[in-house]
Symmetry: C2
Subunit: 394 residues, 2 copies
């Protein structure tokens, strides 16, 4: 088979370049392998989860243009597995090969203020927020937003990093120092009922397809569990997916991305507030590997290769994905005993606290969900599983 493109489609045998070598890159590489596609991983580290399953691994800095050029020369299309790839790296590579999901999505997702503005311009609600470039801005922002708020750096935040909770005015100066006096936003404290996400894809032909709405629980600022479908009004689910569709179209996305949202309750009605965009495959979409007809990783590969999107149908009445974090990975020995538990481990040697080591998916309410398994699961479920208090402080 040749590596040429046919009508915008890459052929099997073509090579996908992946920026970043963590578990998301690993699962993209595994999905690509199913289709006979090759992968090259580029990352600053000399090895990582993706390097173990890829055809070729290139260690290099994101600013090393010679090395980036060599990477681009080896691949037919480029994607990224995390949102903090420098915009300059993507701009440089985009001159050489298509970079998908795309630079506009990445730019918006990388900057909390751009992100807020993007949704505000479209009349899509987010938590109240203000731009903060100085301590003076922060003092002014607190006057409109109120003292109970969260100060978040505009860039490079994830898993609760780069953000400080503020309870009273006296804490402003220390909070400002704590985030390194970096450009930031102040976000009002929002109590919400549930946290949800849309994992969706847009194809090269403009086709849009979303997986079912995910309901997410966090612990210590890190995703602990996703349950599908989210327990929301069907109209809320539809609205959430519509927001994702508008986002994909406005930013000309090609590939899988996610939009995280809060479901609030006002006067007994559900209302959505967009939290943030992830310009890539997403932890809340891992359930799709067994739980949907096409996994988010296969869908991403299809989209970035110019192939038609796959069907997103859910495979069971309910699907649950639980992250294995830090020492939680030691659960593997119990999980391989549990019938119907799909265990995934990412090949990381050191189970540092807070590190995502793997995940496990369970399908409920289809024919596989027998009485025995339900009982086994009840026993298996840790009694002390408590999620964060449900607010946007994460």
């Amino acid at each position: 088979m040749t590596r040429a493109k046919t009508a915008g489609r890459l052929e099997p045998g073509a090579t996908i370049g992946i920026l970043g070598g963590g578990q998301l890159g690993r699962m993209i590489a595994l999905a690509a392998a199913d289709f006979g596609l090759k992968t090259v991983v580029y990352e600053p580290e000399i090895s990582g989860p993706a390097a173990q399953v890829t055809n070729q691994h290139m260690a290099g800095a994101y600013g090393d243009e010679a090395r980036l050029s060599a990477f681009a020369a080896r691949v037919d299309v480029i994607t990224y597995e995390f949102e903090n790839v420098p915009a300059e790296t993507v701009a440089f590579l985009a001159e050489l090969k298509p970079v998908r999901p795309g630079g506009r999505l990445l730019a918006v997702a990388q900057d909390r203020w751009l992100e807020k503005s993007f949704f505000a311009e479209r009349g899509i609600a987010t938590a109240p927020s203000a731009r903060v470039d100085t301590l003076g801005d922060l003092e002014k922002a607190v006057k409109t937003i109120g003292p109970r708020s969260i100060l978040k750096t505009r860039r490079f935040g994830y898993d609760g990093k780069g953000q400080v909770r503020i309870e009273k005015r006296a804490e402003l100066a220390s909070a400002w120092r704590e985030i390194g006096e970096a450009p930031a936003i102040l976000e009002g404290f929002v109590p919400f009922r549930r946290e949800v996400s849309v994992v969706a894809a847009r194809g090269i032909d403009g086709a849009f397809s979303a997986f079912d709405l995910c309901e997410n629980e966090h612990r210590d600022h890190i995703l602990a569990r996703t349950t599908v479908p989210a327990r929301v009004d069907p109209r809320t689910a539809q609205e959430a997916i519509e927001i994702a569709r508008r986002t994909a179209e406005a930013l000309d996305v090609i590939g899988v991305f996610a939009v995280e949202m809060f479901v609030c309750e006002t006067h007994g009605c559900e209302a959505l507030l967009v939290n943030e965009i992830a310009p890539r495959v997403h932890n809340t979409g891992h359930w799709t590997i067994e739980g949907a007809e096409t996994s988010q990783f296969a869908q991403h590969v299809r989209a970035i290769c110019g192939w038609p999107l796959g069907a997103t149908r859910r495979e069971a009445a309910r699907v649950e994905m639980e992250n294995l974090i830090g020492a939680g990975a030691q659960e593997w020995a119990r999980l391989v005993e549990e019938k119907g538990a799909y265990l995934h481990l990412y090949g990381k040697d050191v189970a540092a606290p807070g590190r995502k080591m793997g995940h496990v998916t369970r399908l409920f309410g289809n024919e596989k969900d027998t009485q025995d398994r339900r009982r086994a699961r009840q026993k298996a479920r840790p009694a002390a599983f408590v999620t964060d208090a449900p607010t946007n402080d994460r």
Copy 2:
């Protein structure tokens, strides 16, 4: 996580050594990656389908003891993805690390005469056969078995290679020359109704578990399609699985293996004749990737790592797996359009005639099988699909 064994179980992070680097090795490596296990592929070729997805690839001859020792030192358990690994290689490695499914299974599977004797000793029927070491043996054998027969080399036969069909006595000398005057067996011509296979696993704890009976169609001596469940009497299916269980126990198998059988009809009743053993994961088990709760590859990894076997439940009323052979791989462009078709390609560059390039699996009769899809499949199915005449001449 440490690489130590706990109660006979390898831990995630452990390394599986795979002898052979074709598509079966590739799919074992992909299944191992899901569990956070590492793989090293050892093969004479400098690259191949498995090399693309493995942590480490070692090119080396099967007789190179220094290189084999280095391979053994890097891994915690060794398996093989094809049956023609020299017995001496396996014996050498077995002194250094556990080799699974195991040397006894391999020895029997490698030698058609040992194989026949193994089943005969247990009262399990096979096609009538006789051992042939000389042209004289062949002439004698024809007297008991009859002239319509197949002369097969005892060793190194696959996909119709190493065998000659005989129609009449005049052809004996030329047939004998054609197989290179190598030790052989003469097998009587057996008309059968269907060809079936049991893909099964035995765990380190002696647990045995079989997937549902597969029905197989060949074209030009190569597997073209597997359909599950096989259209046989339930008692026949049970008997087939019982034969596999007895085989596994007698040969102390640890891992996945397959037994191919013919279903004959005598006086309106079905009878099984064992054809051959495959001491490894098997092409007729590829449907399990999407069609069973545990894939044959995950099951094999579980077994050889000393983990408990997974559930083998079928995911749909009927599952069909079709091989993409040679230029058939060009079907990919149509298959990525077909909703519900699971495409697998093996990363082979050259689509030589008869070469297995990939496969596609379809699930029927579950909720995903809508009217639309049935219609699409009807159209997609090649009208000229004709299988070999159903006899053991393959």
